[in-house]
Amino acid sequence: MSHSSAGPEHFHAQARSALGDPQLRQNFRGAMDYLQDKRKSAFFDPVEEAQLRDLSAAIRQRCLSKLPQLLEQLEANCTRNGIEVHWAENDKEANDIIASIAQRHNAKSIVKGKSMVSEEIELNHEMAKLGIECLESDMGEYIVQLDGDKPSHIIMPAIHKNKQEVSDTFALHLDDFEPTVDVDELIQTGRSHLRQKFHDADIGLSGVNFAVAETGTLCLVENEGNGRMCTTVPKVHIAITGIEKVVEFLADVPPLFNVLTRSATGQAVTTYFNMISSPRKNGELDGPLEVHLVLLDNGRSQAYQDEEMRKTLQCIRCGACMNHCPVYTRVGGHAYGTVYPGPIGQIISPHIMGLEKTKDLVTASSLCGACGEVCPVRIPIPEMLQRLRTHAKNPPKADIMPLKGQASGASTLESWVMKGFVLAATSPKIYHSATWSLSKLNAFMPNHIGPWTQCRTSPKPADKTLHQLIKIRHKKKSDKP
């Protein structure tokens, strides 16, 4: 079964349908409980955890504060190392760059490591139009791709599926597959199908976890080895990343790598940490002959304009906020209809897609604060959600850059009601007569008032207003002997 969604503008409908799917809810509940436990045991010492998060947040803030300089330094050092650097404003430009590299090499196949940015630009879809096959090689992504589906989590793309569903997917799409729910056998099936693809692929594509300005080094974090395959075996390696992933010093990497793995999957370290600084050098016997780095903006520089929104860019994509979000746990990643789901997606997506499409997303939070409490780089997600809610409803103020689609969630009725309330609440005469008439008319209050009464009883104004009650109480006191 495919769970793909139509987009964030249909969040309400998608959330409703996800809530009505007991299998999906069970899969997510199980996965989130597991990931929460794993993170908790990875950070067993709260003092150490606090120190590490302070340090990581400070590193990310420092790097962002110098972002334009660091991007230029990264480009200079990559170029010196022989890595070709490309800049893309949006999805179209990024796809054009990748397509032109592929066409220059007459490439027919791209084998991909995990990259959320490539999802963001819908690379697979765009390359297919040009007759170039993109194959996902991360096990989760591979399963999702076979299904014609999209990832529902940024770290564990096929988290919405259980092993029976994976077996069904393989049975449907792979010729010689004997259905099984043995996870080892399922993984070996994936392995053997992908091995030849690594061998044959013309181009390998990957994301980037940290791009080091000081040395021109691309760092990749993974467990499976498919990232190493994609960046080592094909003749050409293309890495694509958002501009915010740059760090200043090589020494910034160990603490960020440390909090990333522990926050994401509760691992002290991943199986592989791959640091790539150049294409194959003279005399070396393997590795790509060309390495390209595509730097993508796609709304990030808009987020950067605003001091508070800039904190969105501190994100190191660990997924801990979604793992701990009560909304994500219940509706799953697809309901959001965005590449980045969950709390971090709710604050990134408005910058990538504009508030017209994402205005409902920012309301999908109980503001319980769990996302902020686990964020390894201390992004104040709940505060930013509140800020985005205000932006969705209200036009920009003079001194603040307007957000794409600002005020698209404004409702005339709502704004008149609020204006009326302000008037009533600040003028005693209107206030008293309004509350007085409400207390007299309470018998006429309807039993059903729209969505409010779906799961609540209709509010009934009291027989007497607070002011009346206090007057009576004072009177009683003074009447006492």
Binding site: E48, Q61, R62, M139, G140, V183, L194, T215, G225, I243
Partner: protein
């Protein structure tokens, strides 16, 4: 590239937007990195081995006299019939960074340990042996440049002597490491050896055999890289 290259236009537009932004007040950064540290060599070794074992690697601790025998036994255990080795190291890369472990240092012992089986030496362009490497080789044997005790991690610095795919494509990776090459943590290793002054094509940190938990959070080994990681720890101090 021409001046109207879209990438150049995008670059100047992106950078000018970023430069227009107000500078940001920042948190102070005289913060400590609370990381595991211990100078006790015994404790470092224990932690290194425990980390690797917890991540499903096999760690064998031996004296340098037992290398050939150990390799022979490991190959029998893993039912390996074809192995691939690097070529002798010219030591330039190693000398530059003065690491405790030199590539090629133990080749005489490795050759002795593999005398009864088929050995392929990786000394040509990967294209010439790619199919063999993917389809016929059971194990790749490498030296390790360093070990990180904190997380149980091997540090490989691939080059002409020991190419990148040696530790990646064969289903079994056998790595040799000297006790003296183990350090407390990653940050210390980088700082001590001043990596920022000379990054090679590739450095890879390896902390176990390839694995995934992508199907129903169930851990499975041998996703795409080696299914087995055997670490031969040589007591040299």
């Amino acid at each position: 590239m021409s001046a109207t290259d879209p990438s150049i236009l995008a670059k100047s537009a992106m950078l000018s937007r970023l430069r227009d932004a107000k500078p940001q007040a920042m948190a102070k950064e005289n913060l400590r990195y609370p990381v595991w540290q211990d100078n006790d060599k015994q404790l470092q070794q224990q932690r290194f081995m425990a980390g690797l074992s917890a991540n499903h690697a096999e760690v064998i601790c031996i004296s340098s006299l037992a290398i050939a025998d150990t390799i022979e036994k490991v190959l029998i255990n893993q039912q390996c019939k074809h192995v691939i080795l690097g070529s002798a190291c010219d030591h330039t890369a190693c000398d530059n960074v003065s690491y405790a472990c030199r590539k090629g240092e133990f080749y005489p012992q490795i050759l002795e340990g593999t005398r009864d089986i088929n050995v392929l030496v990786f000394d040509t362009d990967v294209d010439e042996i790619k199919s063999t490497l993917f389809n016929d080789i059971d194990a790749g044997i490498t030296h390790s440049l360093a070990g990180i005790a904190d997380t149980g991690t091997l540090v490989l610095w691939p080059d002409r002597a020991e190419p990148r795919t040696l530790s990646l494509i064969p289903p079994c990776h056998i790595a040799l490491i000297k006790r003296s090459a183990i350090v407390s943590n990653f940050a210390e290793l980088m700082a001590e050896k001043a990596w920022q002054q000379q990054m090679p094509t590739n450095i890879v940190l390896i902390s176990g055999p390839s694995k995934t938990a992508d199907i129903q959070q169930t851990l499975a080994y041998g996703a795409h890289g080696p299914r087995q990681l055997v670490v031969i720890l040589i007591e040299d101090m």
